[in-house]
Amino acid sequence: MTPILETQELCYTYGVETPFEKKAVQNVSIKIEQGDFIGVIGHTGSGKSTLIQMLNGLIRPTSGKVLLAGKDIWEEPKKIRAVRFRVGMVFQYPEDQLFEETVLKDIQFGPRNMKLTENEIEQRARDAAKFVGLPDELLDKSPFELSGGEKRRVAIAGVIAMDPDVLILDEPTAGLDPAGRDVLLSEIVSYHKIRGNTVLLVSHSMEDVARVADRVLVMNASHMQMFDHTAEVFAHDKELESIGLQVPQVTKIMAELKSRGYPVETCLTVEQAVAQLLPLIKKGGDRV
């Protein structure tokens, strides 16, 4: 099957031919299959943001190609908007983009730009609001009256309402309280499960990525460092640490136990670790 998103030797350089020339992304070639949930991690300035903005045609690669369902998105530059509807993008602190009089109208902005029928626009906006857990009574309020977490939800709903094949979220949980983060993350996961579309989640939280992602893309100094199944990637704890990234604490503990000879496997979540450790403790925990 053709991958939903594919990049070939993707490169981007800021300020070409100026003293401020900077290579932000170099030779990234990845294949993302339909239905994947991908975590994107990397140090600040590693090129994550530039990379994801190329995936929905917000910036045009200096060289290389982005293929959406096998078709080069820049084949017809005039139709780039159609690509942006299919690859939805939620920026960091997306609440800064709200502008309409009511929450509902703001969520409708995307679908309206798609020139759908009025019924469909309404339907999609309400569905999207439900997905992110916005109660109906908020929909007629001004987005500026809402709390930070609610605004964030409205902004994410605004992108989900376009029903994109690929949803890219750049640090969707940044600046939220722990409870808000967990709720939002599980909403994204359930959205992914129900719609069966592809999700890319950029995050600084290794715990979050480990918990939800099937595969992880690691960016380092404008290059792609790794792109593999989550467990594989987090098994390379030394390599990740050398590029300034952490593995989840629980993964680290389990790796340490393993290196000391206990019969345990790489773990990504606390639940997995508990499942492995409890029988060991009951047995008395002999080293192998």
Binding site: G15, P19, Q53, N56, L58, R81, R84, F85, G88, M89, F91, P94, D96, Q97, L98, F99, F109, G110, N113, M114, F144, G158, V159, M162
Partner: protein, 270 residues
């Protein structure tokens, strides 16, 4: 897109021009702009161009930067000189319909072009070598006599400092919001004038909202540090006139004398 603005950008350095007292630089820049219009012949203007080039070399700002600052106003230079081409009397060289190009016209066109280029280059030297803070500080000091007339000099210069400080921040913010709205399918590149103005609303409203938020936060931060205006406020960097600064002022005076002499002895172009 919004990042390629070279005009009015500070270019840090340690050249003699950078180290000059900003007040001297400000006064001399204003003086030179006047000189450029006082000079009425090619000798005088050529002399000023030479002085400008000399200062550009001393400023050790890459020539590329100066070229970049020229790029934006190239159109104005071309437009005014082409317009001037068709003015003027004298020997007719080319006749296009009712319009004619005369040798006077050509001379005028070149003269005006050199004038504008000198003007831009000289003000670029000021902004490239003086940080916005220094510049507003200099303005505050130069305007301080106006305090007698109850002009709020400190407040004005503080407002200018803040405004300048937030230009890059706002540009960045605009870029970000535009990208976010484009990602939701906002169409900002096509359509007629009305359509385009309408398409700016999704960018302008968030921009206003965030500007107000920033202003509020800044005011709060200033209050927290007990800021209460210029009364009794001391400076961390007090401006001092050094020997070099006086020398430069004298040099500025000398240039004027040369221009006036040249005006007197050489026939005027304009």
């Amino acid at each position: 897109m919004t990042r390629d603005i070279a005009l009015g950008q500070y270019f840090p350095g340690k050249s003699p021009v950078h180290r000059l007292d900003p007040r001297v630089k400000l006064v001399l820049t204003i003086a030179f702009i006047v000189y450029i219009f006082v000079a009425n012949n090619f000798w005088g203007l050529g002399f000023l161009a030479l002085v400008t080039l000399g200062i550009m070399v001393v400023s050790s700002v890459p020539v590329k930067m100066y070229f970049k600052s020229m790029k934006g106003i190239l159109f104005i230079v071309l437009f005014t000189s082409v317009l001037n081409l068709f003015y003027g009397s004298g020997k007719v060289l080319v006749q296009i319909g009712f319009m004619q190009i005369t040798d006077d016209g050509i001379r005028n066109a070149i003269f005006i072009a050199v004038r504008i280029v000198c003007l831009i280059l000289f003000s670029s030297i000021l902004t490239f070598t003086t940080s916005p803070t220094e510049l507003t500080d200099a303005m505050e000091r130069l305007m301080s006599p106006l305090k007698v007339l109850h002009v709020k000099v400190h407040e004005i210069s503080m407002m200018m400092t803040i405004a300048l400080r937030f230009v890059p921040t706002l540009l960045e913010e605009t870029d970000k919001i535009m990208a976010a709205q484009k990602a939701r399918g906002a169409d900002m590149e096509s359509g007629g004038l009305m359509q385009r103005i309408k398409s700016l609303i999704p960018v302008l409203i968030p921009l206003f909202v965030s500007s107000f938020r920033r202003a509020y936060e800044l005011a709060m931060a200033m209050e927290c540090r007990c800021y209460h205006g210029g009364e009794g406020r001391t400076k961390m960097k007090v401006l001092h006139m050094e020997a070099m600064d006086y020398a430069v002022l004298v040099f500025g005076g000398a240039v004027l004398v040369v221009i006036l002499l040249l005006n007197h002895f050489v026939p005027a172009v304009i």
